[in-house]
């Protein structure tokens, strides 16, 4: 049986000729060598009757054999405070924090640690599945002594926890206090110990929050025993604090009388948009967060009166740490490409092969930039791009934000998804590989190990399902059907990405007569939305080639390239839901969730918007009376059929998976033509929940007339236009009958007209 054993990623997703891109690869044991080549991707779908996989070798210095090796990945989020004078001469000690454990029963997990295990010096405060709070102190002679409170903590409750050590009498005091009030609470308690062992709490080591560490890698401590849950206002003090002082420090400031005794008091309500944690003690022992723990989450004092962290930051002084988040694998570079100057824009991959093994680390070569290789992102954003140039009239806009949202989706292997597809789930070697590698972290459709929804993604890790040949035809693998069609039509096209559009804005798009989307451009940042909308309002022509586009709002952070944030708020078709009060994105402070909830409907941008989904069978479109309007004549030139797309490589039809419909109420332009409408969807197709008021029996495709796709055309100012297919499956019908079919013909008709500079009026 085929087992996947090789995977990699690149540091960039889009590079221009002359720029550099680095590739990182990890092989499981048994893969001693692999071949790497840079190829232009032409086609990906290997299913019987499909176009098969095709590529074209780009001769580069990359081509060659490389040694296979296993590269370690360290996932899980925590904070590191570098060693410094603040902690230099500790004898006595107080540790405290307000905590919200989400998996207290899983294993021992660290809240605060500063430990030299070999020397037996330092301290660590733990939660333990059986004993609750545990303090561990070094004995100064290579050993450790621990003190356990003895009462387990309850999951998803706030506690104030503290531990003190008095060196004079060797006295240790532990306390954990539930902040809520329950009858029969047995989880609060305290314990004291006297003279059990002398301790040496001072040591040379960084301080960690939410993790312990025994060794370093890649210039920082490796976090172990990571705490799942929220930590608020952790404090390290150099003397034994009284309970009143501990309570006062919970409040968010360091009282003047305590300033000389506080080594560090971290106020996570500050710098929420960053990776910094701010020490509000006079020591300024600031730290850094590793692997994107969740910020802008409710603290223990959240009242519900304010819903944005920017309006009441003091109520968002917690950080949610998880043991399975990941920003950057930080693997060693295997090989590097300087994109040759004459490389045509396109979709490319570093193709890795070793016996029956392969991987395609996919990237885009965007059209030339009239700049030397960029050195960093901030420079990029400052540089205007007027010198850049298009090399075609058509741009294919690769939805990399949506690729990142779906990247490493674990649903198939963990839940089976059988009720979605109405068929047995087929587990591919790629899915088993991903399941063997929890450290590659999750998609935005998954939960973290503690059940918290995944609101950050990163492309600085192998994204196992974002591959041109992936058997689940979704995102990139489905978009390959469009690439294959464009290649077959011999239509010149440039390739650009969501990230390019996010950074460069409408100036990137304005070089093109026509911009074509992928099959499922679901995730959009504000900058992306603004750019695409401006393009349509300035005479640009947009072909929206899919379904459920422009649905969720996402955010990027300039200082965190490759990372993306999204919150699944109020409603929407979603695999998890954000907690109340956590609808604003930490990266930008913007309100997250559906773009509709921010007053920007997909219908207002492209004429249709997400209405229903189903994954068993795809259906077809039927032409409407609007299709005979003279304005739409060019769309159906040479098409006599009333039924459109009753064939296809996904589900046997062009109308399927996720469907968009037109709606004046949701903002479809009043002059828009609905030129075709799909019908006869199965009961596996259900209307989106945000469009359901009362729940009625008639929600499936056979009963609910709302469950259909609308194909929409409308003109935009200055001679521009928008054509929207209304269905993810559309592009997968292009290949049928060697591209001689009505889906292909309609798409070609629209494209030809949209590339014609004559204004659409």
């Amino acid at each position: 049986m085929l087992e996947k054993k090789i995977a990699g990623y690149s540091d960039e997703i889009s590079v221009a000729p002359g720029e550099r891109i680095r590739f990182m690869v990890s092989c499981e044991p048994g893969i001693d060598r692999y071949q790497a080549d840079i190829v232009r991707l032409i086609s990906g779908d290997r299913q019987p009757g499909g176009p098969g996989y095709r590529d074209e070798l780009l001769p580069t210095s990359v081509s060659g054999e490389y040694p296979g090796r296993t590269q370690e990945t360290y996932c899980g989020s925590y904070a590191v405070v570098p060693d410094g004078p603040a902690f230099g001469s500790l004898d006595d000690l107080t540790l405290q924090a307000t905590i919200f454990p989400t998996l207290p029963g899983l294993r021992r997990a660290c809240l605060i640690s500063r430990m030299d295990v070999d020397a037996g010096r330092g301290f660590a405060l733990w939660t333990d599945p059986e004993h609750g709070l545990v303090l561990e102190l070094g004995d100064g002679a290579g050993g450790l002594h621990e003190y356990a409170l003895g009462q387990p903590l309850v999951a998803r409750e706030w506690y104030l926890v503290s531990a003190t050590y008095d060196s004079a009498g060797g006295e240790v005091h532990l306390r954990q206090q539930l902040l809520d009030s329950y009858a029969r609470d047995s989880s609060s308690g305290a314990a004291s110990f006297t003279g059990e062992a002398a301790a040496v709490v001072a040591c040379d080591a960084p301080l960690l929050i939410a993790a312990a560490s025994r060794e370093e890698a890649r210039g920082k401590p490796i976090g172990e025993m990571i705490f799942n849950g929220r930590i608020e206002r952790p404090v390290v003090a150099s003397r034994v604090l009284e309970l009143g002082e501990i309570e006062a420090l919970r409040g968010g400031a360091v009282p003047p009388a305590l300033r000389s005794d506080i080594c560090g008091a971290w106020d996570f309500a500050q710098a929420i948009e960053t990776d910094d944690i701010i020490d509000i003690s006079p020591n300024g022992a600031h730290g850094r967060l590793i692997n994107l723990p969740i910020r802008a989450v409710r603290g223990s004092n959240w009242t519900g009166d304010e819903l944005s962290f920017r309006h009441a930051p003091e109520q968002y002084a917690a950080i949610h740490f998880v043991d399975d988040s990941l920003y950057d694998c930080e693997w060693d570079v295997d090989f590097e490409l300087e994109v040759p100057a004459d490389t045509p824009s396109g979709l490319y991959a570093a193709r890795l092969t070793a016996g029956d093994q392969e991987d395609h680390i996919t990237f885009v070569v965007r059209p030339p930039r009239e700049l030397s290789a960029r050195s960093n992102r901030s420079e990029l954003s400052e540089r205007s791009v007027p010198g850049d140039r298009a090399t075609a009239s058509l741009a294919l806009l690769i939805p990399t934000a949506s690729y990142m949202a779906y990247g490493n989706s674990r649903g198939g292997m963990e839940t089976g998804n059988e009720l979605l597809s109405n068929h047995l789930t087929v587990i591919s070697p790629e899915m088993r590989y991903l399941n063997r590698h929890p450290e590659y972290a999750n998609s935005m459709y998954d939960d973290h190990n503690d059940g918290t929804g995944v609101c950050y993604s990163s492309r600085l890790r192998p994204l196992i399902n974002i591959r041109p040949t992936h058997p689940w035809l979704w995102q990139l693998s489905a978009d390959m059907h469009l690439v294959e069609w464009l290649e077959a039509q011999e239509i010149p096209f440039d390739v650009i990405t969501d990230e390019d559009m996010h950074h460069d804005g409408v100036s990137l798009l304005e070089r093109y007569a026509c911009v074509m989307t992928g099959s499922h451009p679901e995730y959009y940042s504000t900058q992306m939305w603004d750019a695409l909308h401006a393009f349509t309002q300035r005479g640009g022509r947009l072909m929206y080639m899919g379904g459920n586009g422009f649905y969720w709002r996402v955010a990027y952070r300039d200082d965190k390239p490759g990372a993306m944030e999204m919150r699944r708020t109020e409603d929407g078709s979603r695999s998890w839901a954000s907690e109340p009060g956590e609808y604003y994105m930490a990266f930008t402070g913007e309100y997250g969730g559906l773009w509709w909830r921010a007053g920007r409907t997909p219908q207002s941008l492209v004429g249709n918007g997400f209405i229903a989904q189903g994954f068993d069978h795809c259906s077809y479109f039927r032409r409407t009376s609007d299709s005979h309007d003279p304005r739409a004549a060019f769309i159906f030139d040479g098409v006599d059929d009333e039924i459109i797309g009753d064939f296809g490589l996904i589900g046997g039809g062009a109308a399927g998976l996720e469907l968009d419909s037109a709606s004046r109420a949701y903002g479809t332009p009043p002059h828009a033509l609905t030129v075709a409408t799909s019908e006869q969807h199965t009961d596996a197709y259900i209307r989106v929940n945000e469009d359901i008021g009362h729940m009625l029996l008639s929600i499936g495709g056979q009963d609910d007339p709302q469950v259909h796709a609308d194909m929409v055309f409308f003109e935009t100012p200055r001679g521009g236009a928008v054509f929207s297919t209304g269905s993810i499956a559309w592009v997968s019908s292009l290949f049928h009958n060697d591209h001689d079919n009505n889906v292909s013909r309609i798409t070609r008709n629209v494209l030809d007209r949209f590339l014609d500079p004559t204004p659409l009026e």
Binding site: E414, G416, N422, V426, I427, S428, N435, D683, Q702
Partner: protein, 104 residues
């Protein structure tokens, strides 16, 4: 709690409908049964595992846990997805009704 929709073991007509067209679409009465069968806990759920891409699949049961592999049922190998659906339908029919599906 799993779905509580009862499956009437005497409705072999619906089973025959499934065997004739296992990929669907199904009649409303059959779809209720199929939905009942598909609505199971992740742990132990039957899935197919690709043995040879697009050609051969094995039957397996999910662990339901991240990082824990599925369990292969080595003696169950299919060369068509339709046959796999039929086989799992039989397994689940017996599991839910308590008696084997008495049709060919």
């Amino acid at each position: 709690m799993p779905s509580q929709y009862p499956i009437d073991p005497s409705r072999t007509d619906l089973a025959r409908e499934f065997m004739a067209n296992p990929m669907g679409p199904h009649s409303a009465a059959l779809q209720r049964i199929v939905t009942r069968m598909r609505d199971t806990e992740a742990a132990g759920r039957y899935v197919l595992v690709t043995r040879v891409p697009y050609q051969e699949w094995g039957l397996a049961q999910l662990s339901g846990q991240r990082g824990v592999d599925l369990t292969l049922l080595e003696d169950q190998v299919f060369t068509s997805l339709e046959d796999a659906e039929r086989a799992v339908f039989r397994l689940r029919w017996e599991l839910i009704t308590g008696s084997p599906l008495a049709i060919d």
